[in-house]
Structures are given as C-alpha cells and as structure tokens.
C-alpha cells in the first residue's frame, strides 16, 4: 500500500511535472511520513478510528474503510461549496443532531485524518460540478490577488518562485495533497485552513475566520490544480 502510494506520488510528479512538497523534505522527515509506525500523524488517525465508532459515524457509514476515495473528491457542492471538514460538521449537525466538533479541534482533525487515510495513494479528483464554477473562479482570483502589507499573492511565491528558496526554506508548489498533516513546527496536526492562515498572516494580511467560504474556494482551486496527484494524508511537513 505504501509502495503504491509512493509510486503514484512519483507518477504524479513526473508525468505532469508537478511536485509534492514531500520531494523537498529532508530524508529524515520523508522517512517519518513514509513509515506509519514513525508518523506522529497516525496518532490522530487512531483517535479518529476510535471516534468513528464512538461518535456514531459507523452507524450509517459502516467500516471507515468504506470511505475509500471520499477525501480525494473534496471540496464538493452541497447547497454551497463544502470541504471535507465542513462535510463532517454538517453530518454531525444535520444527521446526528449534535454540536459538531469545532474546526481545528483535535477531534475534527482526527476524523478528517482517518477519512483522509482511506484515500492515501488515490489521485486527487474534485468533482467537475458546474455549480462549483463560481467558487473555483473565486479561488483562483484569491490565489492571484496581492494582499497584506507585503503586497504578495499566493501565486507570486508558489507559482513564480516555486522550487527556489525563501531564507533557508524551499518554496513548494502548494499542492495540498496531505492534509490534515503533522507539521514539525506545530508539533501537532493541522488543516489546510490553518496553513492558509499562516500564509496570510505571513504576508501581513488579515486571515479569514475558520470555515470561511474564501478558504473553501482557495482549497477548491488548489485541489483542482493538484488533480491526479496522490493523496498523502496524513503527511508530515517541516
């Protein structure tokens, strides 16, 4: 399975000349992601596996293995564009009639991690739904829009200067294939929205609130841009 994941990863990198930021990491950090028994993200996966049963997900969905491929198909459309974390919260609220786990809580990350793991190695494939078109266009516009006191857009780093260095750090191509992921800097698990907030505060702009439609739009654009690359959840990043 791991080998398959890696093969797909390499295929994605070479066939379409796109590169997961996995390739930019040190061999030590790569090993941490590659070996499940060394990957701290797997602690959240285990937590998510327990929650899958205790929080009642299994009652409708059965074994979590049945969620294979699901995480690769988000963001999707359901009344509005929705990301996987939003879908989990919506499921808890509308179907289970309970207060959803807050975004970025350990529980929410754990559930997203165990669902994401079921798609590891599967190519990213967000739905080609015409109702998503406005959000996709908005996401691309936000990605290219200069913002903050540094007056920088996402594209200026991650398209125009990808592969080069900012201080000691290589600039990745910004393919969000491994979320939620374990970041050594965070010493914990975090979502793509947390990373997007980092980037926004990094260029000294006001970040959106967690769950904001702008984040979902950016994620939609990025996942469409990463289509065909392998899901890596739970990835490890420096």
């Amino acid at each position: 399975m791991r080998r398959l994941a890696l093969a797909l990863l390499l295929l994605g990198a070479t066939a379409e000349a796109r590169e997961s930021s996995f390739a930019l990491m040190s061999p030590e950090t790569q090993a941490m992601q590659r070996e499940d028994s060394a990957n701290p993200g797997m602690l959240w996966v285990e937590e998510g596996r327990a929650l899958w049963d205790s929080a009642g997900c299994a009652g409708c969905h059965g074994d979590v293995a049945g969620m294979r491929g699901v995480a690769a198909r988000y963001p999707a459309f359901d009344a509005a564009p929705i990301d996987l974390a939003g879908r989990i919260a919506q499921c808890q609220e509308a179907r289970q009639h309970r207060t959803p786990f807050p975004r970025e809580s350990e529980e929410a990350l754990a559930l997203a991690a165990v669902i994401g793991l079921q798609s590891r190695g599967i190519p990213v494939n967000p739905p080609d739904d015409p109702r998503l078109a406005p959000a996709l266009a908005r996401g691309e516009a936000l990605y290219r829009e200069r913002r903050g006191q540094l007056d920088l857009s996402c594209a200026q780093c991650h398209d125009a200067n990808a592969g080069r260095h900012l201080a000691g750090s290589p600039i990745p191509e910004a393919h969000p294939t491994g979320y939620p992921l374990y970041r050594l800097e965070w010493q914990g698990m975090g979502s793509l929205q947390r990373r997007l907030r980092n980037c926004m505060t990094g260029v000294r702009s006001e970040p959106y609130a967690y769950g904001a439609p702008e984040y979902v739009a950016i994620e939609l654009f990025l996942m469409r841009r990463a289509a065909g690359m392998a899901v890596e959840t739970p990835a490890v990043r420096p």
């Binding site: 990491m25 040190s26 030590e28 950090t29 090993a31 941490m32 900012l166 201080a167 000691g168 750090s169 050594l184 800097e185 965070w186 010493q187 947390r194 980092n198 980037c199 505060t201 990094g202 420096p238």
Partner: protein, 153 residues
C-alpha cells in the same frame, strides 16, 4: 526641537536598548544551567569518557528544531559479561543540558536508541554510554538549525 527622523531614531534606539536589556536579563537564567561538560562529567561521576565505540546519528542541518530525529548506537556484544548499562544524551544550548537517559542491559540485545528531540538553536550534542566494566564512552555531533521562513504567528 529634534526633527521627526531624529526622534524616531531615538525611539528605535530606546527600543533596541530595551531589547538588549531583555537579552541581558534573560541570559543569567540560561547561564545558570550546567555547561555541556559539567553535565557529561555529572553523568560519569567525573570520569573522562573515551571517544570511541559510540555513534551519534543526527542530521547536521535540520529543517525544524522542534522535532529532530536522533539515534545513538553503542558497540557492545550485549552479553551478561559485557554490555551497556546506560546511554545518555546532553546538549549545549537548550535551557537544560539533559535530553534523555536510557537504562538497558543484555536483554536489550542491541545498544541502540532512537528518539526525537528539540533544539533551541544550532549547537553541539554529546552522547555518553556507561559500560558494564565501569568505563564510559562518548561521541559528539554539531547540528545547525535553520530558521524556517514562514512560521506561524
């Protein structure tokens, strides 16, 4: 009446002065910690460890000091007659010199330990092994911690 630019540089100088003061005030707390050598000699009971038979494996250049993989291996047959009793790791520039001390014996089969540590900054590390014959062996490594460009906060 000083010009705006002068008064601003005055403010900057004061801010810089406050910054230096903070560093000076913060220093003694860190300086109170035993040095790397004291920590090693504390572990060995004053004996000088021999620089042989220990491998300290840590990346020379790390991407993030919060989680740095480190492996220590000691050459030993790990028999009842001849084995490693303890392996300890010390650092030079964290707030405390101690990182980890492992206790093992012949039932471990191999004198090898891996963990992940924090490095406050670029510094030297020393791994020391206590052998069953009462001798000590050591290895050291220098690590450079690069600062990430895009950190949270």
């Amino acid at each position: 009446m000083s010009s705006p630019s002068l008064s601003r540089s005055g403010i900057e100088r004061r801010a810089l002065g406050a910054g230096l003061l903070a560093v000076v005030l913060a220093r003694p707390a860190r300086a109170d910690r035993p040095g790397l050598r004291e920590a090693v000699l504390g572990f060995t009971g004053g004996a000088e460890p021999a620089e042989a038979g220990v491998t300290l494996d840590i990346p020379p250049l790390v991407e993030n000091g919060n989680t740095v993989p480190v492996t220590i291996a000691v050459e030993s047959p790990m028999t009842d007659a001849e084995h490693v009793l303890r392996i300890a790791l010390f650092n030079e520039r964290n707030p405390q010199p101690h990182v980890v001390t492992a206790r093992l014996g012949p039932r471990a089969g191999r004198a090898r330990l891996s963990t992940r540590m924090r490095l406050a900054t670029s510094q030297r590390l020393v791994a020391v092994a206590e052998m069953s014959d009462g001798s000590f062996r050591a290895a050291n490594a220098d690590v450079i911690v690069t600062l990430a460009a895009c950190v949270e906060g």
